[in-house]
Amino acid sequence: MVFSSLEFLFGYLPISLALYFLVPFKYRNFIIFAVSLAFYGWGEPVYIALMAATIVIDYTCGYFIDKYRANKRLAKKILILSIVLNLGILGFFKYCDFFIVNLSKIAFLSFLKPIGLPLPIGISFYTFQIMSYTIDVYRGEGGVQKNIISFGAYVTLFPQLIAGPIVRYKDIDSQLNSREHSVALFADGARRCVAGLAKKVLLANTAGELFKMYQTIPSDSLSTVGAWTGILFYTFQIYFDFSAYSDMAIGMGKMMGFTFLENFNYPYISKSITDFWRRWHISLSVWFRDYVYIPLGGSRKGTLNTYRNLFIVWFLTGFWHGANWNYIIWGLYFFVLLVIEKAFLLKKLEKLPEFVGHIYALFFIIMGWLIFVFEDTAAGMEYFKNMFGSAGFINSQAVYDLVRTLPLLIVLSLASTPYPKRIYYRLYDRFPSFRSAAPILTAAVLLLSVAFLVDSGFNPFLYLIF
């Protein structure tokens, strides 16, 4: 199930909220666990068993790591066992076919055939999340969770189960055992949730449909202007899609008293690629920093090792996004850019006017999405050539479709900046009448999003493929 579906908003969500608030606090984690399992199993009920196994494995490992804490070597062995098991499951379900397909290209291995298992929803997200538990317990940064229900609630927590933010155990440890509920928190959560829904339904889906339209244009008719407009729509789609999911997760978390860390911070106003990766999918970058980069030695062991560590992190970041070469290339593309920035470019950029940095960053972000969106690299190359004029600079289709979508493009651009929120706060602070009208606005945006949802069967959720 995805958040931006009618059955979630008008079936699952009210039932879950009602159950959650009707029971006393001590049963609330159990309710979260139960409804989250239902949420997870909705699409692929059989994978509930996989989820249950994962929970039991890591609960047990966490328990024994804590118990044998004094025996460093044993504790470490248990930690390694849990990491191997988690990565093994992820590897089997997500990457098995990728390796099979690539190995079968070798002559004497050509008998290998892909298995074609459906990917368990959100496995990339929750595997990382659950690994942070055993690691945090091992490092002593998070207490052991003795209650398997609370532990299950942490792992399956439906708001962020399938598309993040990836919650590290240490950030949520204390909230599992006690958290506050209030009308103010619920109201904040509802506002955030509606904002996320609107971003997904009104902006991301609309932009996505337009990008899909540009993709159907044959390469001999796709002009430079058309190709750039198309990839621009994808650039907006992926940001609004993904950040909307985080907004809704944070919002629903708040309703239930959880505070999740922010996952996006206006990534398209970045001044460099380094800046971009501090603003984009923050919980993933933080995860790789804390659990891969720093354990490898980070930047403390000389230039060469730093670059090696960065290479590993960015290779893995790319590969995490999908079991395909284009994602690996996409990750390494950022490795190269980040190394160049680290070596000299950042210092150069600082001396130049700000807009140069913005243009530079946006250009490479957009080119990155080009690599990202085309799993078929040959098709990606065709599109790339179109962006640089292989079918002419402009044609009547490009002009017509650009003009008709210009108001939308302006809205999308503004919505990518902090201005709408700043204006909202300013109005809120200055005008008491706006303070009273704002709830009506929230309700209207919710209803408008519902109108778009009702209108359209087009509602693919991009991040479900991870």
Binding site: L9, P14, F186, A190, S221, V399, Y400, V403, R422, D455
Partner: protein
């Protein structure tokens, strides 16, 4: 940069606002959730002309379990919400209005055209689909010993340029017809170019397509008939040999349903009857186990009962059937034309039947071979008349 993600500052926070947001949110979420289950399910949507998903029920628990674990139950619930959502029509209208406010010139791939028209938008054609379809049609129609013709009714976008927004790109339409002609050049089938003739009429200001439906109007069909006559070489009836009657002025067609543009006015449908008083019979065949029987005989081309339904275009020949025969009630010996058809032909038949008896075969439903039909009957020619939407967008099943 200021920390933009901080919550609203507490001293300015309005308790009233918090309570109101919470109340409205809960009311909307719970209100619609309850309403969808309380309001009785609708079985059919007139606007969309299709059955709706009702709440799935199962005869026993094992049927449910199987459906649940196969994912079928989830799919049905999803469809149920989409189909039965309260105030569905109003919401669809709100979406269309929003697009309009945003100065968007289309909604759900339907263009808000001039003069209150709603036109399906087609993008660049997939030339491979056109090629494959023409190859298949050529294979089925050639070498049968009788002349074969093909005409491809254009889509509204291809001819009603007077309705299209300024600057609308013509290339997608042109490319589709160029690909069609290129492919046909290698075949024995004679191509009848309807688009040029219809474009000329449209440019002169004649309304030859419906504003709210994807079909041509009877007048458009009449001009197509004249073009076909010129190519096959028979003498068409003149306009003054028909009496024209408006049979309904409340026709909301397919593009209206898709666009959600509730502010658009309905179309009217015209019927053409020859003034010489000729009468016609229409036999609709039904097939069971490969054997065909006459399921129903219509008196004339028009089915009045369809005018009270949503799908008023079915007024012509009562809709689409696999195999339909049209005869003039007369003693004179007439030639029979075999027509491979789609729904555009339904409104063309009242004209063609003035010159020929007709056998209509709809390849979307008919499963037999064209060569068998030709071998077992006496036909003067074959006319294939399938519109560009199908030729360029789907797999024509013909053998």
């Amino acid at each position: 940069m200021k920390n933009t993600t901080a919550p609203l500052c507490s001293e300015k926070r309005s308790k009233f606002g918090d309570v109101l947001v919470t109340t409205l949110f809960v009311l909307i979420i719970f209100g619609f959730s309850i309403a969808i289950f309380i309001i009785p399910d609708k079985k059919f949507s007139n606007d969309e002309n299709r059955s709706l998903q009702v709440f799935p029920t199962y005869p026993n628990i094992s049927a449910f379990t199987e459906s649940f674990f196969s994912g079928d139950f989830g799919k049905k619930i999803s469809d149920y919400y989409a189909d039965q959502f309260p105030l569905r029509d109003a919401f669809v209208g709100v979406k269309a209005m929003t697009e309009r406010v945003m100065l968007e010139k289309q909604n759900n791939d339907v263009i808000f055209g001039k003069d209150g028209s709603l036109i399906t938008r087609f993008y660049y054609p997939d030339v491979n689909i056109i090629d494959a379809n023409i190859k298949k049609i050529n294979k089925a129609l050639s070498g049968l010993g009788i002349p074969a013709y093909i005409c491809v009714p254009p889509r509204t976008q291809d001819v009603m340029s007077v309705w299209l927004p300024d600057g609308f790109p013509e290339e997608p339409s042109n490319e589709a017809f160029e690909a069609l002609e290129n492919e046909l050049a290698d075949t024995q089938i004679k191509y009848i170019d309807l688009r040029s003739a219809l474009l000329a009429k449209a440019d002169m200001g004649e309304q030859i397509y419906y504003r709210t439906d994807h079909h041509w109007e009877s007048l458009g069909a009449y001009y197509a008939y004249r073009e076909i006559a010129d190519n096959i070489g028979f003498k068409p009836k003149e306009p003054d040999e028909f009496s024209v009657k408006t049979v309904t002025d409340s026709f909301f067609g397919t593009t209206w349903s898709k666009a959600g543009a509730k502010w658009i006015k309905p179309d009217s449908i015209e019927s053409y009857e020859p003034i010489n008083g000729s009468r016609f019979e229409v036999d609709i065949m039904k097939y069971r186990d490969g054997r065909g029987d006459i399921a129903r005989t219509m008196d004339g081309f028009y089915d009045e009962s369809c005018l009270t339904t949503k799908d008023k275009y079915a007024y012509f020949l009562s809709g689409n059937y696999a195999d339909v025969s049209i005869r003039k009630i007369t003693d004179e010996k007439r030639e029979t034309l075999l027509v491979i058809k789609d729904s555009f032909v339904n409104s063309l038949v009242p004209f063609l039947a003035q010159n020929y008896d007709i056998r209509l075969i709809d390849p979307r439903q008919y499963t037999g071979k064209i060569s068998d039909i030709v071998a077992s009957g006496d036909y003067c020619a074959i006319l294939c008349c399938i519109n560009m939407d199908i030729i360029s967008g789907s797999d024509v099943k013909i053998a």
